[in-house]
């Protein structure tokens, strides 16, 4: 891997961490706060593509694991990996990978619609598909209970996917990282 790719990966791990500083919205009935960090998952995939996007989130999780308080609310360390909502955390690299995969697939005709689709599938469906069963197995509650519990997040996640799509289209025009191998972007 080129040093440049390593720098992009580290950059998006940092972006996810910074998004965690935005104050989370806690919905009374659910124990998982709504944060902007899944927006980072979507952005990593949308901007860096599948491989680098997925690696950026793996790196972010490594930074969490070594005890840096970079999850929203200043959480971090190994205990978040053994908590009941850890499945969502594990799903992030995969979610970013899928967003990136779809973005690359739609790259030539990427517009708001296609970008939104990529982010909904990778950034919402994939994350729910991993997080919900994990909680259900881990906390020994039936799937339906864990499933209904997640619905409060849906509107927020929809908004995030829309924002991610807008950003994906904007960054593609200004600084297309995914196209990089052929043409380097201008630097100063």
């Amino acid at each position: 891997m080129k040093t440049r790719d390593l720098a992009y990966i580290a950059l998006f791990a940092a972006v996810v961490a910074v998004l965690g500083v935005l104050p989370p919205i806690t919905v009374a009935v659910v124990p998982v706060p709504i944060t902007a960090q899944t927006l980072g998952v979507m952005l990593a995939g949308s901007v860096l593509g599948a491989r680098r996007g997925g690696l950026a989130l793996l790196l972010f999780l490594a930074v969490v694991a070594i005890g840096m308080p970079v999850l929203s609310g200043g959480r971090g360390g190994l205990s978040v990996f053994t908590g009941p909502a850890a499945g969502y955390l594990y799903s992030w690299p995969i979610g970013a990978f899928v967003v990136g995969l779809l973005t690359q697939l739609f790259w030539r005709r990427l517009n708001l619609g296609w970008a939104f689709l990529a982010n909904v599938v990778g950034g919402i469906l994939v994350i729910y598909a991993i997080g919900i069963p994990f909680t259900s197995l881990y906390a020994d509650v039936p799937l339906w209970a864990s499933f209904t519990g997640s619905f409060v997040f849906l509107p927020g996640d929809g908004v995030k996917a829309l924002i991610a799509a807008l950003v994906a289209v904007g960054v593609r025009r200004a600084y297309p990282v995914i196209e990089l191998p052929a043409r380097q972007p201008a630097h100063r």
Binding site: A14, V15, L59, P69, D140, P142, V171, A174, Y175
Partner: protein
């Protein structure tokens, strides 16, 4: 913004235990708790972990409670749910198991230095040499991430000020495109600076399918 690790420097016996062993014990514990779903096992495990936290890691009772606070709503909800849908025993088991693992993981975090944990990660990734990965680069990547965090925050603040100075009261997310373009350029130059300082000096290991 400066990040401080959750490591808590104290002269505890667990602080002197190699991080690799603690991580292995943590993994073993999680397997045990799920493989043997018995109430006495989970209760004993919790007692042992609390004891280790207080005596081995020298955490105060306050600190121990603080570790469980983020999941405490979960624990209460879980217990209530099981009381209604199944029974007390199942609920108690699920709650004990969860609390034990969360606390045990927190103990490992509080007693292990960042550099040591990075070394464990590099060790775990060593087999990836076979597919051409340099595990040593994970340390560099983590360092870069920690360095980029304040940088991204600072650049975000600057762009916001610049937009505000021109009288723009635009929604926050419109800051994202200029911010990302700016920091991507920065990362590109950073990579060049790294290469100029020899970051690429070690050739990547040859993947096994290309070894003779």
């Amino acid at each position: 913004m400066t990040l401080l690790a959750l490591y808590s420097p104290r002269p505890g016996a667990l602080h002197r235990t190699p991080a690799g062993w603690k991580l292995a014990a943590l993994a073993g514990l999680s397997v045990l708790l799920f493989a043997v779903p018995e109430l006495p096992v989970a209760a004993t495990a919790l007692a042992v972990v609390v004891l280790l936290a207080l005596a081995g890691a020298r955490l105060t009772a306050r600190q121990v409670l603080a570790q469980v606070r983020p999941v405490w709503l979960w624990l209460a909800g879980l217990l209530a749910f099981h009381l209604v849908v199944t029974d007390l025993a199942t609920g108690a088991l699920a709650v004990l198991r969860l609390a034990t693992l969360v606390l045990a993981a927190a103990v490992v975090t509080a007693t292990s230095r960042v550099a040591e944990l990075v070394a464990v990660i590099e060790w775990l990734l060593a087999p990836l040499r076979l597919v051409g990965v340099r595990p040593g680069r994970i340390g560099l990547a983590i360092a870069m991430t920690l360095r980029f965090i304040p940088l991204v925050a600072e650049r975000a603040g600057r762009i916001r000020e610049a937009q505000a100075a021109r009288g723009a009261t635009r929604p926050l997310f419109l800051l994202l495109v200029p911010l990302l373009v700016q920091v991507l350029q920065l990362a590109h130059t950073t990579a060049e600076a790294l290469d100029a300082r020899g970051a690429d000096d070690e050739a990547p290991p040859r993947p096994f399918w290309r070894r003779s």
